[in-house]
């Protein structure tokens, strides 16, 4: 292992461990969590690795505490992460909202399992996609990334930290049990400091510092505790000083900015992968583990001469709206296999706006689609 104890090389590891290593490569030096299947391995790995890289690991009393400890650590100037699954994700929503409101960079990993409630703790699902979008109360915008392999969860955890620092927003890594527990080759490159993004920092005297000064851009510079800025931040609606202001005008100004800083930068955030989309008449839109099955089904359909392509979402939030709008007029249908009873298909349908059909291929969770199920849907729509 190199002197700084950050891994580098080729490894055979599962998605949970790759996620932890991605965080370490991204500069994460604080992890707070609570055990929950199938995300526990992330915490276990971090408990071993944080001491090795000069960071802090703490197991908190519950997920509300974990999320809050992560926010506190971030306000002390340290890159911080937590990892959980469905029931814990629900508990974290309260303070995900606080993170959004205080504009706190941090990463929240959800290794999804089937729900509702305790559901199927050890089996995969993608049922939390809308919770990722709207889980905390109030109107806000969030960034959520969906990895499809252990390699990608490593890569996207770094991306998640970079986005969170750049936009001062909690970023969600929405993996699932299959990706979390699957072991594959993971190549860990040497990540240079240049590839890592750090939050905008205040310049000028502490006396003049305004915690939510947006005059220079939608993402305000962030001071951290102990530097002499003596700032105040609150979950209440606030002005640029961070002071509570209980008016509709202050609410309008704040919520618009919280949403716009993501929405107006969606072009730079949205990521997807396309296969054979150029001449396609039918496009399968999928993400995470479901996209691996979809990829196989698309290949099989191509072998049968069907003009079909795959659009694999890498960011689900913000949603790839522009691309769906662009494709819709020349397609017969979008086919959306997802491991839930229809969540992202609603977004596809909304953006297709009647110009192409949006067909859901659901799976209730506890496994993945059979390639034949997706293939059959492709055949029917082509």
């Amino acid at each position: 292992m190199p002197k700084d104890n950050v891994l580098c090389g080729e490894f055979f590891m599962n998605g949970d461990i790759a996620c932890a290593e991605g965080a370490i490569s991204a500069g994460c030096r604080f992890f707070a969590g609570y055990p929950i299947t199938p995300a526990t391995e992330v915490a276990e790995r971090m408990s071993e690795r944080m001491p090795e890289v000069g960071g802090v690991f703490i197991q908190m009393e519950d997920e509300m505490a974990s999320m809050n400890a992560v926010l506190g650590a971030s306000w002390a100037g340290v890159k911080a992460m937590t990892a959980t699954s469905g029931p814990g994700f629900s508990l974290m929503m309260e303070n995900l909202g606080l993170g959004v409101m205080l504009e706190t960079p941090c990463v929240l990993v959800n290794i999804q399992r089937a729900g509702p409630s305790t559901g199927l703790p050890t089996l995969a699902a993608q049922g939390d996609m809308m919770q990722a979008r709207w889980g905390a109360h109030g109107h806000y915008e969030i960034i959520a990334l969906v990895p499809t392999s252990p390699q990608e969860i490593f890569d996207l955890t770094i991306t998640a930290f970079n986005f969170s620092e750049q936009y001062r927003v909690p970023v969600l890594v929405m993996a699932d049990e299959a990706v979390g527990h699957m072991s594959e080759k993971v190549v860990i490159p040497r990540i240079s400091q240049k590839e890592l993004v750090n939050r905008p920092r205040p310049r000028g005297s502490p006396e003049k510092y305004l915690p939510y000064d947006s005059r220079m851009g939608l993402v305000p510079p962030m001071a951290v505790a102990g530097e002499g800025y003596r700032f105040h931040v609150t979950g209440l609606t606030h002005d640029e000083r961070g002071y509570p202001v209980m008016t509709a005008e202050a609410q309008d100004k704040l919520v618009r900015r919280l949403v716009d800083k993501i929405k107006l930068n969606a072009k730079d955030i949205v990521r997807y992968e396309e296969i054979d989309v150029d001449d396609a008449e039918v496009v399968v839109v999928s993400y995470g583990i479901a996209a691996r099955v979809a990829r196989y089904a698309v290949q099989k359909a191509r072998d049968e001469g069907i003009k079909v392509g795959l659009l694999r979402l890498i960011t689900v939030w913000p949603f790839a709206e522009d691309r769906i709008r662009e494709l819709a007029p020349r397609l017969k249908a979008f086919i959306v296999p997802e491991i839930n009873y229809g969540q992202i298909v609603r977004e596809v349908e909304r953006c297709a706006a009647g110009k192409a059909k949006a067909r859901l291929v659901p799976h209730m969770g506890g496994g993945v689609h059979l390639p034949e199920t997706v293939l059959e849907a492709i055949r029917e729509e082509s």
């Binding site: 001491p51 509300m64 506190g72 340290v78 909202g97 105040h232």
Partner: protein, 279 residues
């Protein structure tokens, strides 16, 4: 002729966001005097104000973070302690203070409170206990005395309250005290001690809420509750915390109950790091 002396600013104003005054607290509320004790204690403790972080939860006392000119965080209901835990562990040089109310810390945040004391994380917790949920209009809480009236116990409270100092002692807090806002000198001294004390320090501060709790319990003016503190308080430093529970008309035992040494969370964490580095 006596010369008029005009004082432009209070010497403690440097610790306050004077641009946010007047505050939202009711006339006769005890949170103001407790805040006064806190800022004078910071001054007395000779701490670098740039290295102090104040974390509050939700409620009347939770608003204190917004008036103090230090790095200050107004968080979610009950979650001040885990937020403070993240701050402290990520930067152990910070002197972290949690200032919040009884509903926030002891009821909704009760789980965080017992675990923070168990860990003996190095921070000071100032718990304003006004025996009810003031901000929402006077509902029963985990500290409301048996038989007391509140807007959700119109026929009297039928639940037993926590004896908070006893709870904190059992959980492993290294410094446990209780004062009322009548005891300004003792409270100020106690907060000064707590700020300089390694480990988890907990101070319960009994505080009038004339607007709701007082009005519902025959103490309608702030001074009525202060008078009851004067009449019923007994200073017993070193009292066994199990004997200091509060009741509607019983005595109010105040004092410093616990002041012990125990390795802090960070002490133990550093020992673990030593073990890890030798592997």
């Amino acid at each position: 002729m006596t010369k008029m002396l005009t004082v432009e600013a209070n010497p403690m104003d440097c610790y306050l966001r004077v641009d946010r005054i007047p505050h939202i607290w009711c006339a006769g509320c005890g949170i103001g005097p407790a805040t006064g004790c806190f800022i004078r204690a910071i001054d007395r403790a000779e701490l670098d104000p740039n290295k102090i972080s104040v974390v509050s939860g939700i409620g009347c006392a939770g608003r204190m973070a917004g008036y103090i000119k230090l790095d200050s965080f107004h968080t979610t209901h009950g979650r001040a302690l885990p937020f403070a835990t993240g701050l402290k562990l990520a930067n152990p040089e910070l002197n972290v203070v949690v200032f919040s109310g009884d509903g926030d810390l002891v009821a909704i945040g009760g789980n965080h409170l017992i675990h923070s004391a168990r860990r003996n994380i190095d921070m000071t917790v100032i718990c304003i206990n006004n025996f009810n949920y003031g901000m929402t209009g006077g509902q029963v809480g985990a500290t409301t005395p048996l038989d007391a009236r509140s807007t959700t116990t119109p026929y009297g409270n039928f639940e037993y309250p926590f004896n908070v100092p006893y709870l904190m002692t059992a959980c492993g807090a290294t410094y446990v005290a209780r004062w009322t806002v009548l005891h300004v000198r003792e409270l100020e001294r106690s907060i000064t001690e707590a700020l300089n004390k390694p480990g988890f320090s907990f101070i319960e501060v009994l505080s009038p809420c004339p607007t709701v709790y007082g009005r519902l319990n025959k103490l309608p003016r702030g001074l009525d509750e202060m008078r009851s503190y004067r009449e019923k308080s007994v200073i017993r430093d070193g009292a066994d915390p199990k004997d200091v529970d509060l009741s509607l008309n019983g005595p109010i035992v105040v004092g410093k109950f616990v002041d012990i040494e125990r390795p802090t969370l960070w002490d133990s964490y550093r020992q673990m790091l030593d073990r890890a580095s030798k592997l």
